[in-house]
Protein backbone atom coordinates (compact mmCIF):
# COMPACT_ATOMS: atom_id res chain seq x y z
CA UNK A 1 0.00 0.00 0.00
CA UNK A 2 1.30 3.46 -0.84
CA UNK A 3 1.85 6.21 1.70
CA UNK A 4 -1.00 8.16 0.11
CA UNK A 5 -3.39 5.27 0.65
CA UNK A 6 -2.38 4.90 4.29
CA UNK A 7 -2.87 8.64 4.79
CA UNK A 8 -6.30 8.46 3.16
CA UNK A 9 -7.34 5.57 5.42
CA UNK A 10 -6.09 7.44 8.45
CA UNK A 11 -7.96 10.60 7.52
CA UNK A 12 -11.12 8.51 7.19
CA UNK A 13 -10.72 7.01 10.65
CA UNK A 14 -9.62 10.11 12.55
CA UNK A 15 -12.41 12.46 11.44
CA UNK A 16 -10.21 15.49 11.94
CA UNK A 17 -8.91 14.65 15.41
CA UNK A 18 -5.37 16.01 15.41
CA UNK A 19 -4.14 13.85 18.29
CA UNK A 20 -5.26 10.68 16.50
CA UNK A 21 -3.79 11.84 13.19
CA UNK A 22 -0.41 12.53 14.76
CA UNK A 23 -0.24 9.12 16.42
CA UNK A 24 -1.54 7.34 13.31
CA UNK A 25 1.00 9.08 11.08
CA UNK A 26 3.77 8.00 13.43
CA UNK A 27 2.61 4.39 13.17
CA UNK A 28 2.30 4.61 9.39
CA UNK A 29 5.89 5.86 9.27
CA UNK A 30 7.01 2.98 11.48
CA UNK A 31 5.31 0.49 9.15
CA UNK A 32 6.84 2.17 6.11
CA UNK A 33 10.33 2.08 7.63
CA UNK A 34 10.12 -1.53 8.68
CA UNK A 35 8.57 -2.44 5.29
CA UNK A 36 6.81 -5.22 7.16
CA UNK A 37 3.09 -5.07 7.68
CA UNK A 38 1.24 -7.14 10.20
CA UNK A 39 -1.15 -9.44 8.41
CA UNK A 40 -4.26 -10.78 9.98
CA UNK A 41 -6.00 -14.01 9.19
CA UNK A 42 -9.37 -13.34 7.53
CA UNK A 43 -10.85 -16.55 8.94
CA UNK A 44 -9.99 -15.47 12.46
CA UNK A 45 -11.56 -12.07 11.86
CA UNK A 46 -14.72 -13.77 10.68
CA UNK A 47 -14.72 -16.12 13.68
CA UNK A 48 -14.20 -13.19 16.08
CA UNK A 49 -17.08 -11.23 14.57
CA UNK A 50 -19.28 -14.33 14.81
CA UNK A 51 -18.44 -15.03 18.46
CA UNK A 52 -19.04 -11.40 19.40
CA UNK A 53 -22.43 -11.57 17.68
CA UNK A 54 -23.26 -14.84 19.48
CA UNK A 55 -22.41 -13.12 22.76
CA UNK A 56 -24.62 -10.14 21.87
CA UNK A 57 -21.60 -7.88 21.62
CA UNK A 58 -21.60 -7.74 17.83
CA UNK A 59 -19.65 -4.91 16.24
CA UNK A 60 -21.70 -2.16 14.60
CA UNK A 61 -21.12 -1.37 10.93
CA UNK A 62 -19.02 1.67 11.87
CA UNK A 63 -16.95 -0.42 14.25
CA UNK A 64 -16.38 -3.07 11.59
CA UNK A 65 -15.20 -0.37 9.18
CA UNK A 66 -12.65 0.98 11.67
CA UNK A 67 -11.56 -2.57 12.57
CA UNK A 68 -10.91 -3.43 8.92
CA UNK A 69 -9.26 -0.09 8.13
CA UNK A 70 -6.76 -0.55 10.95
CA UNK A 71 -6.00 -3.99 9.52
CA UNK A 72 -5.32 -2.39 6.15
CA UNK A 73 -2.78 -0.09 7.78
CA UNK A 74 -0.81 -3.12 8.95
CA UNK A 75 -0.13 -1.89 12.46
CA UNK A 76 0.94 -4.23 15.22
CA UNK A 77 -1.48 -5.15 18.00
CA UNK A 78 0.36 -2.80 20.37
CA UNK A 79 0.11 0.11 17.92
CA UNK A 80 -3.56 -0.57 17.23
CA UNK A 81 -4.31 -0.76 20.96
CA UNK A 82 -2.53 2.56 21.66
CA UNK A 83 -4.43 4.20 18.84
CA UNK A 84 -7.78 2.82 19.95
CA UNK A 85 -7.15 3.80 23.58
CA UNK A 86 -6.60 7.35 22.42
CA UNK A 87 -9.71 7.17 20.27
CA UNK A 88 -11.87 6.29 23.28
CA UNK A 89 -15.64 6.20 23.07
CA UNK A 90 -17.89 4.47 25.52
CA UNK A 91 -19.96 1.37 25.15
CA UNK A 92 -22.78 -0.14 27.15
CA UNK A 93 -21.81 -3.50 25.74
CA UNK A 94 -19.30 -3.97 28.52
CA UNK A 95 -22.17 -4.23 30.97
CA UNK A 96 -23.03 -7.54 29.28
CA UNK A 97 -19.59 -9.04 29.90
Amino acid sequence: MTTTNSEQILLGICEGREDLLALGRQFNLDVEKSSEKCKNNANNTEATMAIFALEEMGLSEDEKIVFNKIDELGWSDEQATSFLKLMGGDSNDFDKC
Binding site: I13, E15, N40, N41, N43, N44, T45, E46, A47, T48, M49, A50, I51, F52, A53, L54, E55, M57, L59, S60, D62, E63, I65, V66, F67, I70, D77, A80, T81, L84, K85, M87, G88, G89, D90, S91, D93, F94, C97
Partner: protein, 205 residues
Amino acid sequence: MTSISADKLILARNYRSNLNQNLASSFNADHLEMIHRQLCTGLEHRDKKLKSGELRADRKAVGMLSKELEKMTPHIMASTSEEFISKKVAYVMSRVENIKPFHTLNNMVAKLFAHNLAQTAGFNIEWQKFHKDALKESVELAKKGDYSGLSEQIKDKLTSMYKPKLTSSVGTKIDPDFADRARQFQSDREKDISHNQKKQTLQIN
Protein backbone atom coordinates in the same frame (compact mmCIF):
# COMPACT_ATOMS: atom_id res chain seq x y z
CA MET B 1 -18.33 7.67 13.79
CA THR B 2 -19.51 8.68 17.20
CA SER B 3 -21.07 5.27 17.87
CA ILE B 4 -17.70 3.54 17.99
CA SER B 5 -16.51 1.87 21.14
CA ALA B 6 -12.75 1.71 20.91
CA ASP B 7 -12.64 -0.60 23.92
CA LYS B 8 -14.81 -3.12 22.12
CA LEU B 9 -12.44 -2.96 19.16
CA ILE B 10 -9.46 -3.55 21.46
CA LEU B 11 -11.24 -6.57 22.92
CA ALA B 12 -12.07 -7.86 19.43
CA ARG B 13 -8.44 -7.51 18.31
CA ASN B 14 -7.23 -9.28 21.45
CA TYR B 15 -9.74 -12.01 20.82
CA ARG B 16 -8.65 -12.53 17.23
CA SER B 17 -4.99 -12.67 18.24
CA ASN B 18 -5.82 -15.46 20.65
CA LEU B 19 -7.76 -17.54 18.16
CA ASN B 20 -4.61 -18.99 16.70
CA GLN B 21 -2.43 -18.92 19.74
CA ASN B 22 -2.42 -20.66 23.09
CA LEU B 23 -1.76 -24.04 21.55
CA ALA B 24 -0.36 -25.61 24.66
CA SER B 25 0.55 -29.18 25.49
CA SER B 26 -1.79 -29.05 28.45
CA PHE B 27 -4.94 -27.07 29.03
CA ASN B 28 -5.50 -26.11 32.64
CA ALA B 29 -6.55 -23.31 34.98
CA ASP B 30 -3.36 -21.35 34.30
CA HIS B 31 -4.18 -21.48 30.63
CA LEU B 32 -7.68 -20.14 31.29
CA GLU B 33 -6.25 -17.30 33.38
CA MET B 34 -3.76 -16.47 30.65
CA ILE B 35 -6.56 -16.23 28.07
CA HIS B 36 -8.53 -13.90 30.33
CA ARG B 37 -5.52 -11.68 30.97
CA GLN B 38 -4.70 -11.51 27.27
CA LEU B 39 -8.27 -10.52 26.43
CA CYS B 40 -8.04 -7.68 28.94
CA THR B 41 -4.75 -6.30 27.58
CA GLY B 42 -5.06 -2.59 26.88
CA LEU B 43 -8.29 -2.39 28.86
CA GLU B 44 -6.63 -1.67 32.22
CA HIS B 45 -8.86 1.38 32.67
CA ARG B 46 -11.80 -1.04 32.86
CA ASP B 47 -10.13 -3.41 35.28
CA LYS B 48 -12.43 -2.46 38.11
CA LYS B 49 -15.10 -4.33 36.18
CA LEU B 50 -13.11 -6.79 34.05
CA LYS B 51 -10.73 -7.94 36.84
CA SER B 52 -8.13 -9.32 34.48
CA GLY B 53 -7.18 -12.95 35.20
CA GLU B 54 -8.77 -12.88 38.64
CA LEU B 55 -10.71 -16.00 39.58
CA ARG B 56 -14.26 -15.50 40.78
CA ALA B 57 -15.10 -19.16 41.19
CA ASP B 58 -13.90 -21.40 43.96
CA ARG B 59 -10.33 -22.44 43.18
CA LYS B 60 -11.25 -26.06 43.96
CA ALA B 61 -13.88 -26.12 41.19
CA VAL B 62 -11.43 -24.67 38.72
CA GLY B 63 -8.76 -27.07 39.97
CA MET B 64 -11.04 -30.05 39.34
CA LEU B 65 -11.69 -28.91 35.80
CA SER B 66 -7.98 -28.38 35.40
CA LYS B 67 -7.25 -31.99 36.41
CA GLU B 68 -9.88 -33.30 34.01
CA LEU B 69 -8.40 -31.21 31.22
CA GLU B 70 -4.88 -32.39 31.80
CA LYS B 71 -6.05 -35.99 31.40
CA MET B 72 -8.26 -35.23 28.43
CA THR B 73 -6.00 -33.04 26.30
CA PRO B 74 -3.53 -35.72 25.13
CA HIS B 75 -6.45 -37.88 23.96
CA ILE B 76 -7.94 -34.95 22.03
CA MET B 77 -4.57 -34.19 20.46
CA ALA B 78 -4.10 -37.79 19.39
CA SER B 79 -7.59 -38.20 18.01
CA THR B 80 -8.77 -37.77 14.44
CA SER B 81 -12.37 -38.64 15.27
CA GLU B 82 -14.54 -35.56 14.81
CA GLU B 83 -17.17 -37.15 17.03
CA PHE B 84 -14.76 -37.69 19.91
CA ILE B 85 -13.23 -34.22 19.58
CA SER B 86 -16.60 -32.45 19.41
CA LYS B 87 -17.86 -34.37 22.47
CA LYS B 88 -14.85 -33.32 24.53
CA VAL B 89 -14.91 -29.74 23.27
CA ALA B 90 -18.64 -29.48 24.05
CA TYR B 91 -18.05 -30.83 27.53
CA VAL B 92 -15.20 -28.40 28.28
CA MET B 93 -16.97 -25.40 26.80
CA SER B 94 -20.13 -25.97 28.81
CA ARG B 95 -18.15 -26.68 32.00
CA VAL B 96 -16.32 -23.35 31.70
CA GLU B 97 -19.57 -21.51 30.97
CA ASN B 98 -21.13 -23.24 33.96
CA ILE B 99 -18.32 -22.65 36.46
CA LYS B 100 -17.88 -19.02 35.31
CA PRO B 101 -14.29 -18.88 36.55
CA PHE B 102 -13.90 -15.10 36.09
CA HIS B 103 -15.83 -11.98 36.96
CA THR B 104 -16.40 -11.18 33.29
CA LEU B 105 -16.05 -12.51 29.74
CA ASN B 106 -16.69 -16.12 30.80
CA ASN B 107 -18.62 -17.22 27.71
CA MET B 108 -16.05 -15.62 25.46
CA VAL B 109 -13.23 -17.33 27.31
CA ALA B 110 -15.11 -20.66 27.08
CA LYS B 111 -15.49 -20.35 23.31
CA LEU B 112 -11.89 -19.30 22.84
CA PHE B 113 -10.74 -22.18 25.02
CA ALA B 114 -12.94 -24.60 23.06
CA HIS B 115 -11.53 -23.23 19.80
CA ASN B 116 -7.94 -23.65 20.97
CA LEU B 117 -8.72 -27.16 22.17
CA ALA B 118 -10.15 -28.15 18.78
CA GLN B 119 -7.09 -26.62 17.12
CA THR B 120 -4.74 -28.90 19.04
CA ALA B 121 -6.48 -31.77 17.24
CA GLY B 122 -6.11 -29.94 13.90
CA PHE B 123 -9.59 -28.48 13.60
CA ASN B 124 -11.08 -25.02 13.52
CA ILE B 125 -14.63 -24.34 14.68
CA GLU B 126 -16.63 -22.27 12.21
CA TRP B 127 -18.48 -20.04 14.66
CA GLN B 128 -20.16 -18.08 11.89
CA LYS B 129 -22.26 -21.17 11.11
CA PHE B 130 -23.88 -21.32 14.55
CA HIS B 131 -27.40 -20.11 15.14
CA LYS B 132 -27.44 -17.97 18.26
CA ASP B 133 -30.62 -19.35 19.86
CA ALA B 134 -29.86 -22.98 19.02
CA LEU B 135 -26.40 -22.63 20.50
CA LYS B 136 -27.69 -21.01 23.67
CA GLU B 137 -30.29 -23.72 24.09
CA SER B 138 -27.79 -26.54 23.65
CA VAL B 139 -25.28 -24.88 26.01
CA GLU B 140 -28.00 -24.68 28.66
CA LEU B 141 -28.77 -28.39 28.19
CA ALA B 142 -25.07 -29.20 28.33
CA LYS B 143 -24.77 -27.35 31.62
CA LYS B 144 -27.39 -29.78 32.96
CA GLY B 145 -25.40 -32.76 31.71
CA ASP B 146 -26.86 -33.37 28.25
CA TYR B 147 -23.94 -32.68 25.91
CA SER B 148 -25.36 -34.42 22.85
CA GLY B 149 -26.95 -31.37 21.20
CA LEU B 150 -23.95 -29.12 21.68
CA SER B 151 -21.60 -31.85 20.60
CA GLU B 152 -23.60 -32.43 17.40
CA GLN B 153 -23.59 -28.72 16.62
CA ILE B 154 -19.84 -28.44 17.15
CA LYS B 155 -19.20 -31.56 15.06
CA ASP B 156 -21.05 -29.98 12.11
CA LYS B 157 -18.85 -26.89 12.35
CA LEU B 158 -15.43 -28.53 12.61
CA THR B 159 -13.16 -27.98 9.63
CA SER B 160 -9.74 -29.44 9.19
CA MET B 161 -6.93 -26.92 9.48
CA TYR B 162 -4.81 -28.94 7.08
CA LYS B 163 -7.20 -29.90 4.30
CA PRO B 164 -5.29 -29.79 0.98
CA LYS B 165 -6.86 -27.70 -1.74
CA LEU B 166 -8.13 -29.65 -4.74
CA THR B 167 -6.40 -27.21 -7.07
CA SER B 168 -3.03 -28.24 -5.70
CA SER B 169 -3.45 -32.00 -6.02
CA VAL B 170 -0.51 -34.12 -7.11
CA GLY B 171 -2.07 -34.62 -10.55
CA THR B 172 -2.28 -30.93 -11.38
CA LYS B 173 1.20 -30.28 -10.05
CA ILE B 174 2.86 -32.93 -12.27
CA ASP B 175 1.38 -31.71 -15.53
CA PRO B 176 -2.04 -30.93 -16.97
CA ASP B 177 -2.19 -34.23 -18.94
CA PHE B 178 -1.50 -36.35 -15.88
CA ALA B 179 -5.13 -37.39 -15.42
CA ASP B 180 -5.45 -38.45 -19.10
CA ARG B 181 -2.27 -40.46 -18.95
CA ALA B 182 -3.35 -42.12 -15.71
CA ARG B 183 -6.63 -43.18 -17.34
CA GLN B 184 -4.80 -44.48 -20.40
CA PHE B 185 -2.40 -46.44 -18.19
CA GLN B 186 -5.27 -48.00 -16.29
CA SER B 187 -7.10 -48.92 -19.49
CA ASP B 188 -3.94 -50.52 -20.98
CA ARG B 189 -3.39 -52.44 -17.77
CA GLU B 190 -6.92 -53.78 -17.79
CA LYS B 191 -6.49 -54.86 -21.42
CA ASP B 192 -3.24 -56.66 -20.52
CA ILE B 193 -4.90 -58.45 -17.62
CA SER B 194 -7.82 -59.50 -19.79
CA HIS B 195 -5.45 -60.68 -22.56
CA ASN B 196 -3.39 -62.73 -20.09
CA GLN B 197 -6.51 -64.32 -18.62
CA LYS B 198 -7.71 -65.37 -22.08
CA LYS B 199 -4.25 -66.77 -22.83
CA GLN B 200 -4.26 -68.78 -19.61
CA THR B 201 -7.74 -70.14 -20.36
CA LEU B 202 -6.65 -71.27 -23.83
CA GLN B 203 -3.54 -72.95 -22.41
CA ILE B 204 -5.61 -74.86 -19.86
CA ASN B 205 -8.02 -76.04 -22.55
